[in-house]
């Protein structure tokens, strides 16, 4: 955990992105307590099966994968990578631009882009584009403007789609990026209002709380799962029945939000794992799960 401040420092470096792959099984509130204590702001996911299936396997922790500017993995290990990282970061002249060099007339625009000043970068690039006779300069100006336009377009589409499917975390993150980093650009004009609307919405707040509660429930069940004996069929069955009961109760309390939709999927899958004669259709017939601190999803 002493590496968390170090990861925070790395995450603050322009041109470097840190992604956390949470690889142990603990209750969500314990993990969140640590993240809050160390002010961890970079994204992380506890979906170990998902990132594990992608090849990020870590039988021992911690483990680091460094991806270079060309998109390939340049390091895998857990120590002695600072020098390599600095060397690779030195190649990133304009963070986020995807280009290491530009025509000299576009250097101010590229520099502004690298500093996250996208409105300024756009205006500088547009000025060069309008005034230059140099094809190379025109090409780089167009590249910068198009990159900004494409990014704004992607964020807008993502935000709109996320709102439709009630993935409000994604919607809020995208509108927020548009509102803060692209302020002053026409295509980002509606972002502040869209963001405010989501943040002020009681329905959105309840949906986010429900998603959080479901994640907490899933992770608490993961903790319990660690204590089961894989070779004991009766234990596994009892555990699955408990999961089914817990998800059914969650669904009953959250039918009107997106977490309820997900709980419904989980119920369907657990029903497939439990023989029909062992299943009870009426949640009230299931023995109420023993309430332990941190396991009730609240």
């Amino acid at each position: 955990m002493r590496q968390l401040p170090h990861m925070n420092e790395l995450a603050a470096k322009p041109g470097l992105h840190v992604v956390g792959l949470y690889s142990q099984v603990q209750p969500l509130d314990q993990i969140e307590h640590v993240l809050k204590k160390y002010e961890v702001k970079y994204p992380l996911t506890p979906d170990v099966d998902v990132f594990g299936a992608a090849g990020y396997l870590a039988p021992a922790l911690p483990k680091v994968w460094i991806v270079g500017v060309d998109g390939t993995i340049i390091f895998i290990g857990n120590k002695d990578y600072d020098e390599l990282l600095e060397k690779e970061l030195a190649k990133v002249k304009y963070p986020g631009l995807g280009k290491a060099s530009v025509h000299k007339d576009l250097e101010p625009a590229a520099k502004a882009y690298g500093e996250g000043k996208y409105a300024e970068a756009y205006k500088l690039a547009e000025k060069v584009y309008d005034e230059t006779d140099d094809d190379a300069a025109e090409e780089d100006a167009d590249y910068i403007m198009e990159r900004i336009d494409d990014r704004m377009g992607s964020l807008s589409v993502r935000a709109e789609t996320a709102e439709v499917i009630r993935n409000y975390q994604v919607a809020i993150a995208c509108w927020n990026e548009l509102a803060t980093k692209y302020a002053g650009l026409e295509d980002a004009e509606e972002a502040p209002e869209r963001l405010k609307k989501l943040k002020d919405s009681e329905e959105v707040k309840k949906d986010l709380e429900a998603r959080h509660a479901l994640l907490a429930l899933m992770m608490s069940l993961d903790v319990e799962y660690q204590k089961t004996d894989d070779s004991d069929a009766a234990q596994i069955l009892a555990f699955r029945k408990k999961c089914l009961a817990d998800y059914r109760k969650f669904y009953a309390d959250n039918k009107d939000n997106s977490a309820g939709d997900r709980a419904e999927e989980l119920i369907e899958n657990f029903e497939k794992l439990i023989p029909a004669d062992e299943r009870s259709e009426d949640p009230k017939k299931e023995e109420p799960p023993k309430k332990e601190p941190g396991t009730d999803g609240k």
Binding site: G20, L21, P46, D47, A53, G71, L273
Partner: protein
């Protein structure tokens, strides 16, 4: 070995050792592999690591204990 309860793992009745055998571990030189988690803490706005190409990415697997 860590045993976790994602949907796919339950359906397949897999435990981690079996799961690990079927997954090809990434090695140096490989292209960065994308993944799409159901859950994020501190939601990112990128969907694919290809959006970050040109920059440096550090992925770190860690835990509290």
């Amino acid at each position: 070995m860590l045993r976790t309860l994602c949907l796919a793992a339950l359906l397949a009745l897999m435990v981690a050792p079996a799961f690990a055998q079927e997954t090809k571990e990434l090695k140096v030189g490989d292209k960065v592999a994308d993944f799409t988690p159901r859950d994020w803490i501190n939601q990112p706005t990128f969907e694919s690591f290809s959006e970050l190409k040109g920059d440096v990415i550090v992925l770190k697997a860690w835990g509290i204990n």
